[in-house]
């Protein structure tokens, strides 16, 4: 019983760490991959919590489809986030 809780807490901490990495990362492509990793860990958590249906959905939608939608968005806008406190430049392709 205690080993499950330790594993659960480890996965939760890993998820929080990945989320913080996605927020502070200036390269938006890496940030999007980070959100995909969050979904992957979340689907493992759902599997541990005996919800395999939700785990399948999360793995398919969160890892693949959401990531590709964000990557298409990055292609159409800019890849690198601008530094704060600078005047915003127009988006260049």
């Amino acid at each position: 019983m205690i080993i499950y809780i330790i594993l659960l807490l480890f996965l939760l901490l890993l998820m929080i760490g990945t989320a913080i990495y996605s927020i502070v990362q200036r390269d938006l492509l890496y940030a999007v991959i980070g959100t995909g990793v969050i979904s992957l860990i979340l689907s493992i958590l759902f599997l541990f919590l005996q919800a395999p249906d939700v785990a399948l959905t999360e793995a398919a939608i969160g890892v693949a489809l959401t990531t590709i939608v964000f990557i298409i968005t990055i292609r159409n806008t800019v890849r690198f986030e601008e530094e704060p406190k600078r005047p915003s430049k127009p988006a260049s392709k």
Binding site: M1, I5, L8, T57, A60, A64, L65, I68, R75, N76
Partner: protein
């Protein structure tokens, strides 16, 4: 001031989360009595469905599922109508990264396996975890892999809309056929068969196969339109 407020809010949230995590034992049955007993006994015994989640989603809450499919259809239609600049005039394919020969060969080998997995997931929706939505998304992922690896890979929009419409018509007409037995919309009218058999559960496999085809076609069309967006 604002940071202190945010930090205290987060602290309260964390305390409650930890309390919930430590108070309830892992896998503890929190709700001892209720409607779950009805679902857990009725779906294997009377309906012959091994996966209770599928029984709830397709049979007990079948009308909700029809609504969800409609919502997905409307969202896809709206996105396509925004991205289409002209009828059948698509722009250049978005080349995110040019793929090497290894990626192309690997995608070609993986593509049938992914399609097979998706078909397995939605055909066996009443026996194993998964169902129409999950299987459809897996199939769309397979098409996404091919679209990303091959720049000249084409998906026929006519075939996609044909599959989507036929699947939607199948779902609705199976629902309407429930009236024939003097029942209600989406009521089961086929023999349920034995538990854990592939052909069992009445109309549930038919509906989930229709949902799988519909979701797969919709999401494939959505990805194809978004990748070919005209600038």
């Amino acid at each position: 001031m604002k940071k202190i407020l945010v930090l205290s809010l987060l602290a309260v949230f964390g305390v409650y989360l930890l309390e919930v995590l430590f108070k309830i034992d892992f896998g503890h049955q929190f709700f001892l009595h209720g409607v779950k007993d009805f679902y857990l006994t009725t779906s294997p015994d009377k309906m012959g469905v091994a996966n209770v989640v599928t029984a709830i989603v397709v049979n007990f809450r079948g009308f909700d599922t029809l609504g969800e499919v409609t919502v997905l259809f409307l969202a896809t239609t709206a996105m396509s109508s925004i991205l289409y600049k002209g009828r059948h005039q698509l722009g250049e394919r978005a080349v995110l990264f040019s793929s090497s020969r290894i990626v192309m060969t690997g995608s070609k080998l993986l593509f049938p396996a992914i399609i097979l997995l998706g078909a397995y997931v939605f055909i066996h929706g009443h026996l194993t975890p998964g169902g129409g939505f999950q299987g459809g998304v897996i199939i769309a992922t397979g098409f996404l892999l091919m679209l990303l690896s091959y720049e000249d890979y084409k998906v026929s929009h006519v075939a996609l809309s044909l599959v989507e419409s036929l699947a939607g018509i199948t779902f609705a007409s199976v629902g309407l056929l429930g009236f024939l037995n003097g029942g209600t919309f989406l009521q089961n009218f086929l023999p349920t068969g034995g538990l854990n058999n592939l052909i069992s559960g009445g109309v549930i496999p038919i509906i989930y196969i229709a949902v799988g085809f519909k979701v797969g076609a919709e999401l494939t069309g959505l990805i194809y339109t978004a990748l070919n967006e005209k600038d």
